[in-house]
Symmetry: C2
Subunit: 228 residues, 2 copies
Amino acid sequence: MDKLLQGVQIRINEKLYMKDPESSGLGKKIIEFSIQLINDIGFESFTFKKLGVQIGSNESSIYRYFENKHKLLLYLTSWYWGWMEYQLVFATNNIKNPKEKLLKAIFIMTKTTKEDSDFSHINEILLNNIVINEYSKSYLTKEVDAENKEGFYAIYKRLVGRLAEMITDVDATYEYPTSLASTILENGLHQHYLKEHFPSLTDCTNKITPTQYLTHLVFNTLNSNIDE
Amino acid sequence: MDKLLQGVQIRINEKLYMKDPESSGLGKKIIEFSIQLINDIGFESFTFKKLGVQIGSNESSIYRYFENKHKLLLYLTSWYWGWMEYQLVFATNNIKNPKEKLLKAIFIMTKTTKEDSDFSHINEILLNNIVINEYSKSYLTKEVDAENKEGFYAIYKRLVGRLAEMITDVDATYEYPTSLASTILENGLHQHYLKEHFPSLTDCTNKITPTQYLTHLVFNTLNSNIDE
DNA sequence: AAGATGTGATAGTAATACTATTATATTTGC
DNA sequence: GCAAATATAATAGTATTACTATCACATCTT
């Protein structure tokens, strides 16, 4: 992640904010410090008032950017998936062999974010952590169908679509490419969570990664050896 | 699910309640109607005050049974997994063939609950729905490690252990039995959710079930044909 | 220099998530 | 059958949350 990413701008659904946080210093501060604060105290305890204190700004000013903290979470997670999509496309674009391509894709989507790319005010390591801990709360709500219609999950859906296509390119006879794609993304996060909080519920450790588990799962399911 | 289940008592961690809801009429009403209400309005909007109105009782009385709504959710989901465990053991006990046993286990764990067993005040169909929609909220919290130490997730963990063992009995060389077991349970719920709210993210429909998808996934991964 | 826009400060409201106290039922033990 | 113990109901009160509204002030623009 370097110079090449400098110019990247991730497009977020405009209905998620009242005022574009990328358009001002305060907006960027809101993003930067909300990531830190949500990471520290968890999404439930996170409030705009507390965030205001952190950034030396007022609650009411934050409300001018985001309607509520739920929309902010949707903004942050959308950004994350957009960033993932960018990495996916960038890293697999020039790979012609379908198996190699899928292998790389699984790696990109399930690895731990180990370093902050520094190309923005967004700390990707912390954001990755937030997604592991909070993403499902962004859709497990009574408003999910209405918000889905508004396109709030569009980036994630596009990403699943891309993965599913790569799966089909490896094995066109496989009957569940979309389910498998969503399993890779969702269970990737879940295995990371289990490793941290429920080690007895996973084989993932410091030596065995979710990437290894899911790679094995996918390629055996597709009845297609990695190096065949 | 009939007579045989009449005598079943699912043992819930005593620290989850202040007063055993099974010990009184009001307690049973709290369980019965909290399931209905959470199902109707979602866990976020659910409050003890609203529940009090529903059952013609007072908020303060409910607080004598449960410290807060989070503990109530843990109680309900523990009960669900306990019930699942009972069904699993009951249905697989006398199956000797490991593949057949695992096949049955996956079916039990990933099917939709279609009927209420009527052996208690608990509506299993609604509870199944609650687990699909809310279970991850019960552990995606900042208190997860402390609560795990208290044994609040013990039943679920035991269930994953049982499944992992069945996987190993089918293929002792498989390296990720525990991760696969947790994937079956967690992704089973997730595929049901996707089917309902994000049909474009799954291949599961009215004709293709999460059970079929996961059965195929597991048996192909284990490199072991179902009817071989 | 005037006008538009962005931010900060303050105040206020309804709801949530409780706790405490007291009163009134109901159960149980003798 | 009555007292004592226990369960439930009613009421009130608190701190916090999740906002909305208003106004003052600063800054940026033209």
